[in-house]
């Protein structure tokens, strides 16, 4: 695993808002087939780190290396084209559109501007099936009619539909009940098993320990720990998050 070129490698990434340094020389490595958890307290810089990868808020300095090539990410479109997609916490779905239109939003299949509904519908259904989603009755349902877990599933399926290399999940289980959380976590595992690099931002350490292969901890804009889940404990991670402890020899 470690011999393989990482899908994403961030080197000394910086970002400031006016005088406030939100990211200070952050290094971050994401590998294919793994779930990489990104944890940290509120204001630690998790969202800023992700927004840079999504192309919404470019970094001020530092290198972004995607599969060995240095790239520039300055718009969401550039990120999508490189196979990076973000599933947002506030679920960027349109309630008034059906599942098919949401899955294809911004990337509709069409000929001279006319929608190819049949093709989109088939592909949408196939994608949901491939994710073993059975709870959605019809892909023509309006998203407004779906439950929280189903909405999260649609949001994740959106990222999968395009054969993305990287799927970034921002608090995927924050608004969900127990059973739905379990469903979504299983889905996250399946994404990694399918060879995708999954980045999961979460506050819920239980969820993190349930699915993540590696855990990165941000503390006040600095990466203070990068550990394998199998080699650490929840208590350790909590101390990294609160800043009472820093991983030995970290930052080399």
């Amino acid at each position: 695993m470690s011999q393989q070129t990482p899908v994403i490698e961030l080197k000394n990434v910086k970002k400031s808002f006016g005088p406030v340094e939100v990211l200070k020389d952050v290094n971050f490595v994401v590998r294919a087939g793994e779930v990489t958890a990104l944890v940290g307290d509120n204001g630690a810089g998790k969202s800023t780190l992700i927004k840079g990868l999504a192309g919404i808020q470019p970094y001020d300095a530092g290198k972004i290396i995607i599969e060995g090539n240095e790239v520039v990410l300055e718009s969401p479109r550039q990120s999508s084209e490189l196979g990076i997609d973000v599933v947002y916490q506030d679920l960027a779905l349109c309630d008034n559109l059906d599942i098919v239109h949401n899955l294809f939003l911004g990337r509709e299949q069409s000929a001279i501007g006319v929608l190819d509904e049949g093709h989109m519908e088939t592909k949408a259904a196939d994608t949901l099936t491939s994710l073993s989603v059975k709870t959605v009755k019809s892909v023509r349902q309006k998203v407004a009619k779906l439950s929280g877990g189903q909405r999260q599933t649609v949001a994740i399926a959106r990222a999968v539909l395009w054969n993305n290399k990287v799927v970034i999940l921002d608090e995927p289980t924050a608004a969900l009940g127990v059973a739905q959380t379990e469903q979504v976590l299983q889905l996250v595992r399946r994404l990694a098993a399918a060879g995708k690099a999954v980045i999961m931002i979460s506050h819920n350490l239980q969820d993190v320990f349930a699915v993540a292969d590696r855990i990165y901890v941000l503390y006040l804009g600095k990466m203070t720990a990068a550990v394998k889940t199998s080699e650490t404990t929840q208590a350790d991670v909590v101390s990294y998050i609160t800043g009472s402890k820093t991983q030995e020899n970290f930052g080399a």
């Binding site: 969401p76 239109h101 509709e108 929608l115």
Partner: protein, 332 residues
């Protein structure tokens, strides 16, 4: 594969009310259910229908276009002036409609780039566009120099009045645009969740400019038709109740002022209903002073149902869609 559910019940309701109104007016006056009156109704309805179609596009994105009535007046005078300058009547007509869409483009660009609410931008545009024809004509009517221009408002093709045919064409094009094209999906998406639309890589600027340009274009066509029917360039054509009636028609037809919901079929049903009520009141000799009052109450009823519906929609979900920004805008 399941067939997409169509929101039949709601639109069926409007058509039902429409037929009831037709029935009531027919009983009240024997002059109502006649071919002559039907053609008067349709011709008057044509202007409102065109503006309402454009307005539907704007409302679907969550905006509103208050400049359409004034745009009708402006484009009517522009057509007259272009003809006086020696251009053939049909060139003048197309030129006027393009001027209408130009005003829409300006609306859209300002709304997108300056970030002012659509209500304010189009409110200001209303002032500008209603002033221009007054300045050009010094508030006097101007003669139309080409007789053939009258064909647009008064001519017939295969027995159908030209304005009605233009409305049918506009309605078909609108319906296809909204239902079957990428652009249509993006228009709905913008009204449904603007942030999601932007994050999905939708070109928000292009979509916004398009809906206002489309609304302006149809207002321009309406101005040409209205002027052609009067056969004189009158600088206040369309600045009366047209804007008011067209928004009423769209809202009654189920187009949500909150954005993202509504169909062309619904808007057309709304136009039929509003035109019928307006025409029916004329036929049974209700004083014209009463008409805006009645239409006003109808708007209120339509919006009440709409906001009930959308609060029910929100109640079921965790995410509130925020305060309806537009409600305060409708009291024009």
């Amino acid at each position: 594969m399941k067939i997409k559910k169509v929101s039949i019940p709601q639109e069926a309701g409007i058509f039902l009310v429409f037929f009831v109104m037709v029935l009531i007016f027919s009983v009240l006056s024997e002059n109502f259910f006649t071919i002559t009156n039907a053609s008067v109704l349709l011709l008057n309805g044509a202007i409102i229908a065109l503006i309402a179609l454009g307005q539907t596009f704007v409302l679907l994105t969550g905006g509103i276009d208050l400049s359409t009535g004034a745009n009708v007046a402006m484009c009517g005078i522009i057509a007259t002036v272009l003809m006086r300058s020696g251009l053939p009547w049909w060139v003048a007509a197309i030129g006027a409609a393009l001027c209408g869409s130009f005003l829409g483009v300006l609306n859209g660009l300002i709304i997108h780039y300056v970030g002012i609410p659509p209500f304010i931008v189009t409110f200001a545009a209303m002032g500008v566009a209603s002033s221009i024809p007054m300045i050009i004509t010094r508030a006097e009517s101007i003669q139309i120099t080409q007789e053939k221009f009258a064909w647009i408002g008064q001519g017939h093709v295969l027995g159908f009045p030209v304005p009605v045919i233009l409305v049918i064409i506009a309605a078909i094009i609108s319906s296809i645009l909204l239902k079957n094209t990428v652009l249509g999906t993006h228009i709905y998406a913008l009204g449904g969740n603007k942030l999601a639309a932007r994050l999905s890589g939708i070109n928000v600027m292009r979509t916004t400019v398009f809906v206002y340009a489309f609304s302006g274009f149809l207002a321009g066509v309406a101005g040409v038709i209205a002027t052609s029917r009067l056969n004189v360039g009158y600088p206040q054509t369309g600045t009366g109740n047209q804007l008011f009636y067209s928004i009423a028609a769209a809202v009654v037809g189920g187009v949500s002022l909150f954005g993202g919901i509504g169909t062309i079929r619904g808007a057309i049903a709304g136009v039929l209903l509003i035109s019928t009520i307006s025409n029916g009141m004329n036929v049974v000799n209700v004083s014209s002073y009463w008409q805006p009052l009645v239409i006003g109450l109808i708007i209120l009823g339509g919006v009440s149902i709409d906001s009930k519906r959308s609060s029910k929609r929100d109640g079921a979900k965790s995410k509130p869609r925020g305060k309806p920004q537009i409600l305060s805008r409708t009291k024009k």
